[in-house]
């Protein structure tokens, strides 16, 4: 890059660009890719959606948002997401997917997100496209297309793409989630936990309109798939359990809503030019967002922060050791450890903490890394972060479609008996019915071909046993059967290896050769699944006959919720070892460490995009069952999803901010009654009565331990079953806990604390479980262990059930932000902070959130901070050491500033010639990096259409 501009001699020049097609208004927002190295800046306003082409200075209309922005909104573009789907098949050098039409995805990167071959990334080259079926749509609902002439095998089209190819609704392309004989399903919200991508239902408006089925103007459809070659042969060849995304980019748009859940999240797939609504549960916000939204994404970007330097080993199923590194303890806590090669490739886990050479992760590895493994430490993968009118940060997990206000420890689906495709969330099983002699296989060629049959006819084998079925897959022109395939192994025992007569279908006289019989079982899932013949399904949670707790190959399926398996070792129909209860939640697919989740919080959500949620403190856990402090309406087997999170919220306040006195660290030694951390200089007695937990290493799973005494370096407690050592990471619950007495709606006590009087007066408190869940209050005063709120809570807190957390940072106002410094050139800062403008007409304060510690660095000194960042102020990060900030007012020019994250100074960089019409709330400033290293700041007019840019240097 050559840049010979000279300060003072040359001044900023604001170039007026082509005007936006729509007025920015209250909900106008801009976003470009996280690294700024993108051609486009995306622009949403109301329900309109466009992109500005920085190469050609022109605007382009894109798909309308299904749900129009309301009141305030925010938007973020990430290159980490794209077009998602299930792999249909693969060879060592190819992959077949549903895809989009023609060569749309050629040249793009594909990543296997979970299932077989996860973690591999390849470049696609288009080879061929297959139209597998087509027809005329005879009926529709918002989630289905019906072709009443068809006789499909259940789920045979799961993962394929259905396109509307003729009629007024043409050009819509949806992924098929499941199918029965005549219906293709493009959405099933019971499967949202398993596959939250591409489930946009038909809606009233273009481009999501319900296909027309009126005679004379009926819509036509095709079912298609595409095959691509990959640039390098797969190391592990994907299969039908593999779930992929392309790295074609996606955009998240969040907006306020007048009714619960009070916010709406939508995702735009750039490759498919289509939005889909994502999940927003009802507990996170309890009122519409009246001020503003700070919105940010974290993901892998730039170079990894740490990677292999020495010998890799996994001393346990939650650790990774690298003899070659020497890190500052916990610098990369709450980042992601990604296994990039060798044993365990593709696994990604949150780093709970680390010492100089050893990482501890959660949840446990599925496959422990070893000396063949390579790894990277990268930013917290594929999360979105949101802050609005209060002090709570919400995190969205883009892969699982779940939200939280604290770090996730696990996520899943409530299942009594679980049926799991490799790498996927489990499907709940309602029953497994064994028969002693079912049909295991048939000859594909019939003994007698009969006549009058059509493809798709289902024939029941009626000799000896009952209920076994085949489906006709090929016929002659006279309707004689060429071939069949087994779809149901039978419901009544008695089958033998013999020729069986058949009933059913449109023809007559076909007989089928049964070639193998044995113990089989019909599995009925609690809701529809997406399993196909040949899928390998792993069951867990079976009692009575535990031989079913193994992997089986699907025969069939015979319906979207029924499939058969051959179970040669079985002796009886299994029952569920545990079932959902009012004080227990079961996920039989898990293998938790006993009591590892004690003192954490579980949320149980109903099915759907805006589910109701129940929350509870966890008092105990076994390998598969959580015990709850609060009585709930029992979770629903197979359709309730849940998440386990820390009781310590993002940004939990810390009482003792001075060096050596804080609440967490790594033990240097101890005994069964003491934990020593020689790096501390605690005040004797400061932690007496508090609980601590072991978060990693020796002692993990010991639950909450009460401190009976402490001196400068030692915590003393009742005798435990472990001796702390240097693998032991501990954390004392200094500003969160479980209420021991609820006095009134404004006063409660937690005796496990010894706070200074009024340390928390004016700070914020959020209830994290039970009836007051999601409400946040300002604290009026506090004693050593009692809190008085400034306003009444929904209900008097319930002792032993209501949990809470104190947040140190002030509420956010209009013009707030979350800006992530992924590219800071100072390695001690890189990717570590969110810079959050408080947003206020009276103070220009910026608070900094420290991701590794989960603490706010409140009110840091910044030179030049007397500007008031308020309505009309916008922000853009340049991918290095600068956040650009703007100030304006209605009728005024826009003044732009650079906040240098290294020097902590804010200085002006120019003033636009463009006048703001009316200051608006949405973020309408973006930063584009050119490949040659120049940076341009783009500013859209407040409540207007003018766009201007300036080179910054």
């Amino acid at each position: 890059m050559a840049n010979t501009l000279v300060n003072t001699l040359d001044l900023p020049f604001w170039e007026l660009l082509n005007q936006a097609p729509a007025t920015s208004g209250a909900t106008g927002v801009l976003s470009t890719a996280e690294d700024g190295l993108d051609r486009f800046i995306y622009y949403a306003a109301g329900s309109a959606f466009y992109r500005y082409d920085t190469y050609k200075d022109t605007w382009q209309q894109l798909a309308t948002l299904p749900i129009a922005a309301s009141s305030v909104s925010a938007m973020k573009h990430t290159k980490r997401r794209g077009f998602h789907g299930r792999v249909l098949s693969a060879t060592s050098s190819t992959v077949t997917i549903g895809g989009l039409r023609f060569a749309n995805l050629s040249g793009e990167t594909i990543s296997i997100e979970f299932g077989t071959g996860l973690g591999q990334e390849r470049t696609l080259t288009f080879v061929s496209e297959t139209i597998n079926d087509s027809g005329v749509i005879s009926g529709t609902t918002t989630s289905t297309l019906t072709d009443s002439t068809k006789k499909w095998i259940p789920n045979q089209w799961a993962g394929y793409t259905v396109g509307i190819t003729f009629g007024t609704d043409a050009t819509q392309y949806h992924r098929i989630v499941k199918n029965d004989a005549t219906n293709l399903y493009i959405a099933d919200y019971n499967l949202q936990p398993h596959d939250p991508w591409g489930q946009q239902v038909f809606a009233a408006s273009v481009p999501y309109a319900i296909p027309v089925t009126t005679a004379g103007s009926q819509a036509n459809y095709t079912i298609s798939s595409q095959t691509f070659s990959v640039n390098t042969n797969w190391t592990v060849t994907p299969d039908a359990s593999s779930f992929f995304t392309t790295r074609t980019g996606g955009i998240y748009h969040v907006t306020s809503s007048a009714t619960s859940p009070y916010f709406i999240l939508q995702y735009y797939d750039i490759a498919n030019d289509m939005w889909t609504q994502k999940t927003t549960p009802q507990i996170w916000l309890l009122a519409a967002i009246g001020t503003d939204i700070g919105f940010e994404r974290t993901g892998k970007i730039g170079n990894p922060y740490v990677s292999n330097l020495g010998t890799i080993s996994a001393p346990s199923n939650r650790t990774l050791n690298d003899t070659g590194i020497s890190l500052t303890n916990d610098r990369y806590a709450n980042h992601t450890l990604l296994i990039t090669g060798g044993t365990g490739i593709g696994q990604k886990r949150r780093i709970v903490g680390h010492t100089s050479t050893r990482f501890t992760v959660t949840p446990a590895w599925d496959t422990n890394p070893d000396a063949t493994s390579t790894y990277q430490v990268v930013p917290n993968l594929d999360k979105l972060w949101m802050i609005s009118a209060n002090s709570t940060i919400l995190q969205y997990d883009a892969v699982t479609d779940n939200w939280s206000n604290a770090e996730f420890f696990d996520q899943g689906v409530a299942t009594n008996i679980s049926a799991k495709l490799n790498g996927w969330m489990p499907i709940g099983v309602s029953s497994i019915t064994r028969i002693a002699a079912g049909v295991v296989s048939v000859a594909s060629t019939p003994v007698a071909a009969g006549s009058g049959y059509v493809i798709g006819d289902v024939l029941t084998l009626s000799t000896n046993g009952a209920g076994a079925q085949v489906i006709v897959t090929s016929v002659t022109s006279a309707g004689a059967i060429n071939s069949v395939t087994l779809t149901n192994s039978g419901t009544t025992t008695g089958y033998t290896v013999s020729t069986s007569a058949t009933t059913g279908g449109t023809g007559t006289a076909a007989t089928i050769s049964i070639t193998a019989v044995g113990p089989t079982a019909n599995v009925t899932t609690a809701s529809d699944n997406f399993f196909k013949a040949g899928d390998s399904i792993t069951f867990a949670g079976c009692a009575t006959d535990t031989t079913f707790n193994a992997a089986f190959t699907v025969i069939g399926p015979s319906a979207m919720n029924v499939f058969s398996i051959s179970a040669p070792s079985s002796t009886a129909s299994p029952t569920a070892a545990s079932s959902q209860g009012t004080t227990t939640l079961v996920d039989s697919s898990k293998n938790w460490i006993t009591n590892e989740h004690v003192g954490r919080i579980v949320s149980v959500a109903a099915s759907g995009l805006n589910p109701s949620v129940q929350t509870s403190w966890i008092t105990a856990n076994t390998a598969t069952t959580l015990t709850l402090a609060t009585t709930i309406t029992s979770a629903v087997n197979g359709t309730s999803k849940y998440w386990v999170v820390d009781a310590k919220l993002f940004g939990a306040d810390d009482q003792y901010k001075h060096t050596g006195k804080d609440r967490s660290g790594w033990a240097t030694g101890g005994s069964t009654t003491t934990l020593i951390d020689s790096t501390k200089s605690w005040i004797p007695g400061q932690w007496v009565g508090y609980y601590f937990k072991v978060e990693a290493g020796t002692g993990y799973g010991s639950g909450r331990i009460a401190v009976t005494a402490n001196d400068a370096t030692t915590l003393t407690f009742a005798t435990q079953t472990f001796t702390p050592d240097t693998t032991t990471k501990y954390e004392i619950a200094d500003s969160w806990g479980l209420i021991t007495t609820g006095t009134s709606t404004t006063v409660f006590t937690d005796t496990a604390h010894n706070w200074g009087t009024n340390w928390y007066a004016g700070k914020r408190l959020r209830f994290t479980t039970n009836t007051n869940m999601g409400t946040e209050f300002t604290i009026l005063s506090n004693t050593n262990n009692a809190i008085t709120l400034s306003a009444a809570a929904t209900a008097t807190p319930t002792a032993g059930q209501n949990a809470y957390c104190i947040l140190g940072v002030a509420t956010r106002g209009t013009a707030t932000s979350l800006m992530w410094n992924w590219g800071s050139t100072d390695a001690t800062k890189t990717g570590r902070y969110f810079y959050s403008v408080r947003g206020s007409a009276t103070t220009g304060q910026i608070d900094i959130y420290d991701i590794p510690s989960g603490k706010w660095l409140i009110a840091p000194h910044i030179r030049g901070l007397s500007e008031l960042w308020q309505t009309g102020s916008n922000y853009a990060y340049n991918g290095a050491d600068t956040i650009y900030m703007t100030r304006t007012a209605s009728g005024a020019v826009v003044r732009a500033f650079a906040y240098n994250l290294n020097t902590q100074q804010i200085q002006g960089i120019g003033t636009t010639t463009m006048l703001t019409s009316t200051s608006s709330v949405g973020n309408i400033t973006e930063f584009i990096n050119t490949p040659s290293g120049n940076g341009f700041l783009y500013i859209l007019q407040g409540t207007g259409t003018q766009l201007t840019r300036a080179l910054v240097w």
């Binding site: 050559a2 020049f13 005024a892 003033t911 010639t913 040659s932």
Partner: protein
């Protein structure tokens, strides 16, 4: 000469210049247009708020139509006014910046 004096006499429009901000090419262009409008005022072509479209028939004003305010004018000489400003802005960018970066 008279024109020059009149040009010089017209005060800068306060809605365009705020404080001591340096004027960019766009600002200068806008000011120039406003100055021209001011100069035309005594000729009865432009009022301070409205441009008057005057048909002259045998020396008598027969029709006076209020067209629009100058600040909302969308065309200059049948060419989109924004497009002209946009082009001049791009010329300004090329002159001021483009030659010094690559």
């Amino acid at each position: 000469m008279a024109l020059k004096n009149a040009f010089d006499a017209i005060a800068l429009d306060s809605s365009v210049q705020t404080g001591n901000t340096r004027l960019s090419s766009i600002q200068q262009l806008v000011q120039s247009i406003q100055r021209i409008a001011q100069l035309l005022k005594p000729l009865g072509v432009v009022s301070s708020t409205n441009r008057l479209n005057i048909d002259i028939n045998s020396g008598t004003v027969t029709t006076v139509t209020t067209v629009t305010t100058m600040s909302n004018q969308t065309q200059i000489g049948a060419v989109n006014a924004f497009a002209q400003v946009h082009d001049i802005s791009r010329m300004g960018y090329n002159n001021a910046i483009r030659g010094k970066i690559s």
